[in-house]
Symmetry: D2
Subunit: 342 residues, 4 copies
């Protein structure tokens, strides 16, 4: 059994981790911390967990996380970097679901996140936890930077095209739409039901923190900087990201075959039949990215449609997938549930 | 392995049965029929099932359902009664998710459903599949009438009070609210997104088919006819039923203790702590009924709040629960998933 | 022209007042205050008002409200009672959309609102602004207590029955459902999109502040205390209240005729044809209460369905209706827009 | 008074026309036809119109539309072209809200709409009813082709850039999102609440009928064919279109000033302040297009955000705007209502 701790379990990625881990046959959940809600039963805050999780939130200062084999950080940005070194020193492996270790360039990170990084040396060690790209390194990693939700959907969509050099990399467009849970479980007016329901809007057009993360990931593939315009939008759904990706073909190829071959052995990437339009609900609650590739009117623009559940393949599910890889378990352990539709 | 067939699998109870059965370790799914969609892969109609269900819909006339141990009918009302006798004669057990065998009084059934019943003799044999009431009879039944969604939520809410004679039975009120999936996967204007979204309404106040079913169930408890006003409403959610039940106290008792004791050994009924307000999302995707009992301002009106997922405890999940009982499996097999929240 | 000021215009009743007043031919909007947002253009906070309202929010301390003919308070409870006396002394008439002057019994008010009332003497003068009951008194009032949203829907539904003594008043039930905007424009987790969407729940079963307000209103009709159980629910719609009301018939009558006669001359109460089920969207954005009365299966339980838009007939629209009455204008001035459907 | 008739009033553009025309001081509504619902009161189908529209639907064969000054066709594609000639011959002016007269190239029209055009000669006479481009021609037109919803949002967004030659026209991208009412009031499974809610998807990537309409409109501006990739999506909102437009800068300019100057005199196009993100709800129910223009990270990609209410500026509102122009009325007559927010 893997002894697991969770730091910061009162947000949506926290409750989603609990949902997945409660059904994991190789996990023993030791502790889940919350500074604000220490002493509260987890199932009081999240009644969906009644009968499944019997822990209380504990105060981080009174929780002996060094007894864990693995600790997940489901905290706001800037928390994990304060605590990771001590855990690693104690032999605990760490998966950070926040952004502290996602950007290798410290200056870029500090600019976008508005903080001084607490442990730049550990950034270099951290492995970016996108299994479809980094599976081998994840296996032995001590510290995983779990990818962001938009970056997961966008990178998996562009990956086959850029690896094969089929599209130019200087003028990519990612028009992405997210359900509201992507904004987290925070008391804010902009994400109230009466504000976000029956509405649609773009946000962060001038710049979103996931932009440098996506650029970094795509540049690793192409070996040089990419030109990317990234426009995120808010759609009135709870879960789901839909990325609509645009690129210009530089070389002819069978796009459908390219995608099918690239992901033939990936358990969590589903290349849909030619002509498909994947729906976000088709992955609701599941650790799955469904992709379709189009070439409208046979022109030179490639359109990729990529959908994930932002809380699963875009967060907690991918974290469990990384855990499975790190601990030598079958990668699909506890991640093979059928999406909830309708 | 239980060899299972499904008749009529293109509706919401059908896809929900498939979601649950795909994860059931003791089930081998032999066939799923659809007159209109024979030849279509199930996963083409429901992409959420890609990788989980590889069957094609088959034409009912070309499907050898008599090879099954158990057949589920997820058909419109009036279909199962045409086919059940042949299956029973072939030694196949049957669970009907529609209403054909729910009402013991044939005349009542024919009045509310507007059809002549095809096999009145089998109605008498059919067991009403509410395990919290009929577990023993379910075990040996050949034919199960799976309860309706409203009747499940309402009966489980009133049950402890009526069994103990705590409230009068002559003037009960059930004000019930259902998500739109309760109306089924049918092309109709009234349940279009643009009609049902951002809206709330009552319907069927003059009379709803679940009224006689609920009355029958409650009368079995009290031993005499009950007076019940039942008002269903449509709420803009996909899944979920919330029944708000009102009764007049006839005798003093500790209501909380009464409910907790009645359901102490029930795996799928969760009595919430005193003062709770169960939310439909707390059971989303799960075979669970959560109940809270209130006595506002200490008066003589008892208010019970009872929530289920209409497609799970109100349909497909309860059907699988009945199957587990019928075949001697642990009752929670394949039904222990954590609800999807948010 | 009526010179109008609004105190506290950043909530939903505030922006709704602005929407209605911007189209009012006899209103000159002098000022709208906000302590937190002074200096911000109103149309920056609410882009829907661009081109319609050119004011800036001003600080209450720097706003000369005594120059107004009428001031609306769209503030949280407890604010208006601090400021009303000075305005009245300056000859300004006041409509309070909050609850400060709704309950005539000071002790009851202080118990439910948890505050000491600042001006109990003015409570006696305040007129409860339900025109269908108090039109004559409203005409000459200096101070109007604008009714709550639930109380409006519930009182208008019970009114004809209780006035005529058709139902008993000792055991009324009001099962009411509200859209989320009823909770206001406040940063709170419980009303986030990801919490309130695709969900349904009751709340405040033990006691809600609108209970004593409804009881007071109904007791005025019957001349003695009424027995009322009131259960509010949250439904995932932005606007709309649907009250489902239950009473026991004490005397036979033609219910449909009773309702039609009672409201024959009311411009904003629409008695639907017999057998109707009014939908909340049928009054979306309009100052209208639609009502249907049923007697299921011809029994002795009367069921009334009453719908309003909580922000219009349940708040800002009713306030403008009261203003029209107070200033001798045609009652429907600026209130005759067609509901927005779909 | 303008005598107005409506052909085909049972869809969403029909009821929206009725909402707007009911408040129009210069319109006398003579008749509204429906083959299927002849004899039904309009307000029975749409209770929101109770008290505002007292007409019954009449059978088209029994309706003397030639008595009208103006007839709106709110019919499916292919109906107006059968009836327009007779009306024009009788001196009636016509606004077609469907697509029969939108494409000047008959072969293109017949390919995309799968029908033989019934009156190609009238297509040449028809004026494309986008006032911001064709105001002068609209004034004297007998026959108006009212633009599609997507084409309105997309053309108004690209217009200033293409007129001024600021972006290249060979590689435009329009990533557009529509609320579900855009699919019309038709009984179809794909637009059921339980299918379209809590979901997001693209559709028609291979080709959508609005693509040639947009291309035609943009080519009129540039004087030569444009390269455009158009990807429509379905978002779970009732109303609203959000077009996110991408182009490559060919020449430097002050983008904000360009847009503000182009639309300075347009009553229904609102250029938002620099850095804005217009929300669809900010135009809910109003005949308004709000636009923001961005240049992310100062690069050479221009991003335009353009929102409309698909049923108003994208259909019925624009039709009334055209009517106002045609009959010499102030263009904003009956179109100046404040959007409904929240």
């Amino acid at each position: 059994m893997i002894k697991v701790g969770i730091v910061g379990g009162t947000g949506y990625t926290g409750v989603e981790l609990l949902r997945l881990l409660a059904a994991h046959p190789q996990v023993e959940l030791l502790a889940i911390t919350s500074r604000a809600d220490a002493g509260t039963p987890v199932s009081q805050m999240f009644p969906s967990l009644r009968g499944h999780v019997n822990l209380l939130f504990t105060h981080p200062d009174e929780t002996r996380l060094e007894q864990c084999d693995l600790v997940f950080f489901a905290t706001p940005n800037g928390i994990a970097m304060q605590q990771v070194r001590a855990l690693l020193d104690a032999g605990v492996r760490v998966i950070d679901l926040a952004a502290d270790f996602r950007l290798q360039d410290i200056a870029t990170w500090e600019k976008w996140y508005g903080m001084t990084h607490a442990c730049p040396d550990l950034v270099g060690e951290a492995v970016y936890g996108l299994p479809e790209v980094n599976r081998a390194q994840i296996r032995n990693a001590r510290l995983i930077a779990n990818p962001g939700c938009y970056p997961t959907a966008v990178q998996l969509g562009f990956l086959p095209l850029l690896e094969a050099g089929i599209i130019g990399a200087d003028s990519l467009i990612a028009d992405a739409k997210s359900g509201v849970s992507g904004a987290g479980r925070k008391a804010e007016i902009a994400t109230l039901f009466s504000e976000a329901s029956d509405n649609f809007k773009a946000y962060g057009v001038a710049g979103h923190r996931h932009l440098p993360e996506i650029r970094q990931g795509l540049a690793r593939i192409t070996g040089k900087p990419v030109g990317l315009t990234f426009v995120p939008h808010l759609t009135p759904a709870i879960r789901g990201i839909h990325a609509t990706l645009y690129g210009k073909m530089a070389h002819e190829t069978d796009l459908q075959a390219l995608f099918e071959q690239r992901y033939a052995n990936e358990p969590f990437v589903d290349v849909m039949p030619a002509g498909s339009h994947p729906e976000t609900r088709s992955v609701r609650g599941a650790n799955c990215c469904r992709i379709a590739v189009h070439r409208p009117q046979g022109g030179d623009t490639v359109v990729v449609l990529s959908v994930i559940d932002n809380l699963v393949k875009g967060a907690a599910g991918q974290a469990v997938q990384n855990m499975n890889i790190m601990f030598g378990l079958p990668e699909t352990t506890a991640l093979n549930n059928v999406p909830l539709l309708p």
